[in-house]
Amino acid sequence: MLNKLSFSGRITFFQKIRSLDYWLLVCILLLGLISSFSMYSSEGGQILYYTESHIIRFTVFFSLMLAISFVRPKFWHATGYLFFVIVMGLLFYVSLFGITASGSQRWINLYFINLQPSELMKIAIIICFAKYYHRLQINNINRFQNLLIPIVILILPIVLVLSQPDLGTSILIALSGLAVIWLSGVNIKYFIYSLLIFIVSAPFVITFLEPYQKLRILAFFNPERDPLGSGYQIIQSKIAVGSGGLYGKGFLKGTQSYLEFLPEKHTDFIFTLFSEEHGFIGSLALLLIYVIMIYRIILIGSICRTFFSKLFCYGFGSAIFIYIVVNMSMVLGMVPIVGSPLPIMSYGGSSMLATMTGLGIVMGCRIYNKELIV
């Protein structure tokens, strides 16, 4: 179906509109709708600050995504490194002059939004790697120097984000970067070696973690160790999800969130709230929307002719998957609590901006899938 659209040369605006991926658009709009209702529920059934601001952001960034859709992948290819450098600059700026909130220096005050550059880095790293590997000859990929450069490129932002400190986002950046490196065709043995090295060095890494991060890891392995302290979030989140049952407690009837037992319910734990109110069935439906979304992104990647677009789509699709998995397994008590938002669902402007930018680029790849990058 997608292949029918193929023809070379310039395409009209109407054709561009037609070649937008409507499955993807519907998924995004559905997520926007669901997230707005969840936000409404998180405020106890009232449209207060979070709901209003979430809806506004979603509208603004959705429009932004549509606009970005009409930007040729060629542009992203051309500005790929620049984009990365700018975001790196912002990260430096944050580490010097950023706004501090709850013990972490992450934000730049842009007056209409508190920008979190680490979120943008999630996209920038994918574009940067896509460009890097686009140019690379297949034979050179496994050369030492070509292995070292991406590692350095990846480690720089991670170090900056970790120092904020923000373990969650740095893990997400690392994982999405590694996903792109993997997709580019780097030999599997290097991944295995790295994994081994990581396991061996993990105990040393842990000594560098902040005390609160160590507590969270301990709390993950045994939440009952400190049920009112670091284990509280995991316990309450599990209670909320578990008590939702098959059909959920009903919209606006989630007692765990309504009675404020649930922490961070608009941001990282929005899935818990949703799952408590809509149960197993609702959670499956939400998961299905994400699955369709990821499937469409990868499908778009598969029809792209340029390696850059392909790698970006596959990379971004995998990144979205990683975000979802990290967030969900965290709120379900399967991995330790690290700050990581659920794409589109969670409240947070920068995260939404990054996701929408990524989706916009994917949409662009769809529209201009026949174009080649010279």
């Binding site: 993997w182 098959l246 009675l259 197993f280 990647g301 995998s318 998957f321």
Partner: protein, 655 residues
Amino acid sequence: MISSGDTSIRKSKIISRRIFIISIAKVVVFTGIIGRLFSLQVNENKKYLRLSDKNRLREWKLPPVRGEFFDYFGNTVAGNMEVYRLHVVPEQVENFNNLMVRLKNILDLSDKEYSKIVNKKNKQKPWETIIISENLSWEQFSKLNLYLHELDGAKPVLSVSRYYPYKENFTHVLGYLSRASVSDLEENESIKKNYVPGLKVGKSGLEKTFEKDLIGTNGVQRYEVNAYGKRINQLDHTVGKKGKNITLTVDAEVQKFANDILIGKSGSISVMDIYTGEIVALHSSPSFDPNLFLHGISINDWKLIRENPLKPLLNKTVSGLYSPGSTIKPIVALSALENDVISPNMKVKCTGKIELYDHTYHCWKEKGHGYMNLRNAIKQSCDTYFYEVSRRLGVDRLNVTAKKFGLGSQVLNGIFENEKKGLVPSTKWKKNNLGRGWVLGETLLTGIGQGYIQTTPLQLCLMTAQLANGGFKIHPRIILDKSYEDYETIKKKMSQNIVEREDVQMGLIPTSDGLINSSENKYSILFRNQENVKFVLEAMFGSTNELFGTSYKSRIEDKKYQFAGKTGTAQVKRITEKARELDLKTEQIPYEERDHALYIAYGPYKNPRYAASIIIEHGGSGSKAAAPIATKLFKLVIDRHEIREKIKQKEIQTI
């Protein structure tokens, strides 16, 4: 184009393979997440639902409403009074300190109370209620209402509290309430079940004994609370059940009289219906006001009660042990007659003392009574005569009779936790408990109610009652039981018992028509020959109503009120020869060494209905200190009797 076509195709191939591998990984991971969701939401749903309910639901138990006590006539003797409490919820107050300063002025709180409240406020959550005052006086309440519009956040709340309208009159019967202690909770299951902070429970008396019936059950309010424990909304409200009301056989009027007449003295008065066993009055003096304990007794008040040498905390009527003194003589006489040891005509010459094995035993009358027969010996309470009687009778036979008539065992079967059994000695008892053989001299002392013998005032009252009803066992009670047999039935059954016994004695076989039913032996016969009982009763009449009788001065000549009794003067200390020579008046002896004054009586003489025992600790002689009280007591009791009967009639009609 920088990359050659070949590279491009190979790169595409690799990337397709790699994304395929990732996709498989995605399916696996998503399956894992779905599995986790399934296990939490479907498999373990019940567990987490329970945990979530535990999170959000809190139950608040409301204090149970306690059952009340009424006297025989339905007067409330322990009721529930509505009291106004002052509550403040700090969260709803704009400026807590300002409010407190104002309240301090209005309610006249002491600095100590004030700082206590402020401390409490700092310790608890802002939405938790602080009780500023448990019991606002009317003055405080009206003053508060005047300023209430300025006192934002202060709420006068209507609450229920125990109230004893008769104050100290019923203290020893009812006991008192105070905050439940840890041991109360451990010992009493029903307190544990119904406990709420600040719950008042019975600490002594019937309030304690009947705690289980009185306490009632909690009301329960279920609230939904948020993560901080704040109540969000009330889900349901179960109304608790009020505890059982209890009606006493006691007459508040007589009780009040007993209290008033004993004021300033240490002693006890008990009055009993000689047929139904209903206790009309049961008072121990001095008493104290149980209302003091309700809202926490002050240290000073408690000190006054605890350190009072007259021991207000002791329920002397059931827990005080006294030598019966001469009040035992009717039983000694009866025992001797029943055992055919003496005849009423036996004569003994009283010279004021007798000698036995180098010991001198004195009669209270130093000059001696001269020649005495049994009737005169009872009437004038001649000790010498009773030395002789008891010498002939022996302590073991006396023991049997005394026990039959209620001495040496609990009268009310443990209704009062501290009720004492007293002691009626026997040769066996002494051997087992003191390891020594009985000495004849001890028999003589027992015969005049001194020595080892110990009785409670209520036992003496029961003894008198069982003599006065003609020698039948009765069943004393203080809790009114409407189903219990009335006077006529009891009297009929008593006479039936005699008929039955005579039939058996004459060798007649009891008929099977149920007229003579051996299981109906409720009012068993305590005598062998009723004439002996009648003789003793008549002698007691003489003691009160004839010249030279020991309580002659206290007699009432009006037949309606005429009573018969026996005085007693119990020595607390062995009288030394020196003291005997000095012959001091009561007032000249130190208080603790003065004799106890006792008096037992029944009335009206013609057709007796009530028995009484009066004891004044260290009051001196029975005839001077105790008997005069009986004069007033019987007048009142017999007057009240008519009203009492009327109430009974009315009840029978309404049923």
